[in-house]
Symmetry: C2
Subunit: 477 residues, 2 copies
Amino acid sequence: MNDFADRDDDKMKDAQLAEVGDDDDIYGEDGSIRQDFLTAIGAAIADRDVLFLRDHVIPLHESELGDLLESINASQRQALVKLLGADFDFAALTEVDEAIRLEIIDAMPNEQIAQALGDLDSDDAVYILEDLDEEDQAEILAQLPFTERVRLRRSLDYPEDTAGRRMQTEFVAVPPFWTVGQTIDYMRNEENLPDSFSQIFVIDPTFKLLGSVNLDRILRTRRKARIEEIMDDSRYPIPAEMDQEEAAQVFEQYDLLSAAVVDENDRLVGVLTIDDVVDVIHEEADEDIKRMGGVGDEELSDNVMSTVRSRFAWLLINLGTAILASAVISLFDATISQMVALAVLMPIVASMGGNAGTQTMTVTVRALATKDLDIYNAGRIIRREAAVGVINGVIFAVIIGVVAGFWFASPGLGTVIAAAMIINMLAAALAGILLPLLLDKVGADPAISSAVFVTTVTDVIGFFAFLGMAGLWLAHL
Amino acid sequence: MNDFADRDDDKMKDAQLAEVGDDDDIYGEDGSIRQDFLTAIGAAIADRDVLFLRDHVIPLHESELGDLLESINASQRQALVKLLGADFDFAALTEVDEAIRLEIIDAMPNEQIAQALGDLDSDDAVYILEDLDEEDQAEILAQLPFTERVRLRRSLDYPEDTAGRRMQTEFVAVPPFWTVGQTIDYMRNEENLPDSFSQIFVIDPTFKLLGSVNLDRILRTRRKARIEEIMDDSRYPIPAEMDQEEAAQVFEQYDLLSAAVVDENDRLVGVLTIDDVVDVIHEEADEDIKRMGGVGDEELSDNVMSTVRSRFAWLLINLGTAILASAVISLFDATISQMVALAVLMPIVASMGGNAGTQTMTVTVRALATKDLDIYNAGRIIRREAAVGVINGVIFAVIIGVVAGFWFASPGLGTVIAAAMIINMLAAALAGILLPLLLDKVGADPAISSAVFVTTVTDVIGFFAFLGMAGLWLAHL
């Protein structure tokens, strides 16, 4: 292959790119990667034009390279990674969907992966390693230098979704008796520091955590001062076994930029940084939204069959509850055949109850997730929801009562649907708050299971109240 | 009032507290504030025991004090703030619900508010000021020192939810020709530095932003080096007018801890920090979840009437669509009176479509919010959703066809509902992805408006397909 072939062609690609103006920004107005940039990269990949790719891909931030990888097709991805070789920024793999990450990794020899991981921060390396199967993991780890291997192994030994798994094992730690001057000199001379950091830790000879100092504090203090005089000892160390979501809440509550991660003996084993915590916050919000929508842990890159599978269980449960609601209706088939208008109106009662219940449930599930709802305000919120249910129930009872009364020229039918509406809106409010609280209490995730229970309650009570009262009314007509 | 009255009583309160063990942590196992702590604080407020309150409330972190304020009742809050006087940490007001914040502020003379705001970082002061009415704002600002006033005014002049409104106007900025040593000496001698910071900015004499330097970089560099040699010039300055959500995305993409905020002339006007960005990320996720659940911008502290109002519009829209679905059913009232089983089964078709549509919609709305869905993958995702809809449609058609066929001993009825199921599941998939994409395209928020459109589509098509085909089948029987 001749890298220098067709430099004119390169100029053409450059010219195409330049036309759009600001060459620094690969994103267009709508936030996705510019079409001309993708075209030029695609052409360069097809031409095996390594020089052009080096010029335009190497300067990208890892997250930009991640977006690029997600915007081209699988064969282009493989080719791009191969063409860049050692220049491919492995950190970009932490920015793409799991499916794409595995696709790229699987096509790579383990030796190359080991070499690339060696250059990453330990948290990024672990992020990539953890998705691989045991065998590949072991083979890659075996090819890393001893200290590196021990560090990664230690992170991987902590369970998934814990602070220990997310932490970075590179940090700066100094003894308490050092002076500020000594500390600064150490940082000036030491080659092996983390890529970036915002605080240093203070430890005793056994690595027990004594405190921490923010860098701005060091910069504001005279060289002669001792570290122990300026260190902060209440910096909320995070146990390595702590769930990452809990760790994120500590960060949020105390506005931390980074925090020490300690083992069961209070020894410093790593540092958790806010950028990882931001990812956790995002993942958790994502999870809650998806669970409430009944789509579990789906990713956008999932293929048809895994999507079908991920949604099947939820739809099957819903089918069960829908059949249950139908069974309730079938109890009243004689009533319906007496007055078909009931069949026309009954979905309204169920639907309004379902929506009101979803509203209350959304507020409740969210408040539980953010820990805004606790034993001190639960009573007040339950009373409020019941009151809101009754008030909205009465308002909508009047509206639908009048509409139905005129529609079917039957004030009696209007009265029946109005009464059913009030009952179902109250039931919806109570189900919407009590069911998530109960699920939370017994340790189930209210986000994933509330919706189906709440709509079952509102369907069953809605049909039962409306058709039951209609039957009584028709019997006494 | 005698502060020293009843010190025995204090010891009793302390003893109560001590019993529970770790006195440093005011939170219990479940993450809410410990009951004994609240009891002791409540008793101290009732006793007007300022000394006890000072001992136990002043050491709290602002977010802990915020939680405490949210866990006691309104009159206790007022009393606590009064008893603490100048010792009350105003920053705690940034950690409570808007309703509680306004309740506390409203009870305070403007002079006291002005004095307290003077001690806060500008972003916290603005956060508190922005909710007050124009008149109070002006009166409070008038009592602040000139520079303070100008700073806060400048932030308040930027529109709500922009980077300018969220920024902190305290920052460290140095000229490019300074050496690292000069910069460190400046920070050691200057009294008026921000409370904490992780980078400093480099500006020209007109305050034009030239670059930035992370503190760890300064600490690793020899004193003689010039700032311009080590400064980073691609640190993603944020225009003050930029929407906070967009700013948060920049932070996330490039893993920033802080970023310069610049005005339209590229002049440095403030700094946006990751802790504020974390709050924005939370607010936005919260907003998305609540909008999808039909509860707008509700807060947990809202009272009954404002909650009724906030939910009314959504329920009214839903009533309209439910009546529309009923109108579709009423087209087939003759068919239903011919076979009541149709009324029993028809909610199943609508409900399955509604749920399948919600699944697709959740994935779509979320992917739009996180910008994972764009013109490059929209086609693939639309095809995937259609395929998933058809496959799940066929699976559930078989299940419900068999169930209904046996239930009503009518293979014909089973066939009709099975066919309707496939049609409605496909319609649900297409509505679930195309409607949010369309809403996004025309500039509407897909989170707030998709659900109602999607379920309208699945209700109408579900009833139409099932009852229509049933009518044809019965006519040819």
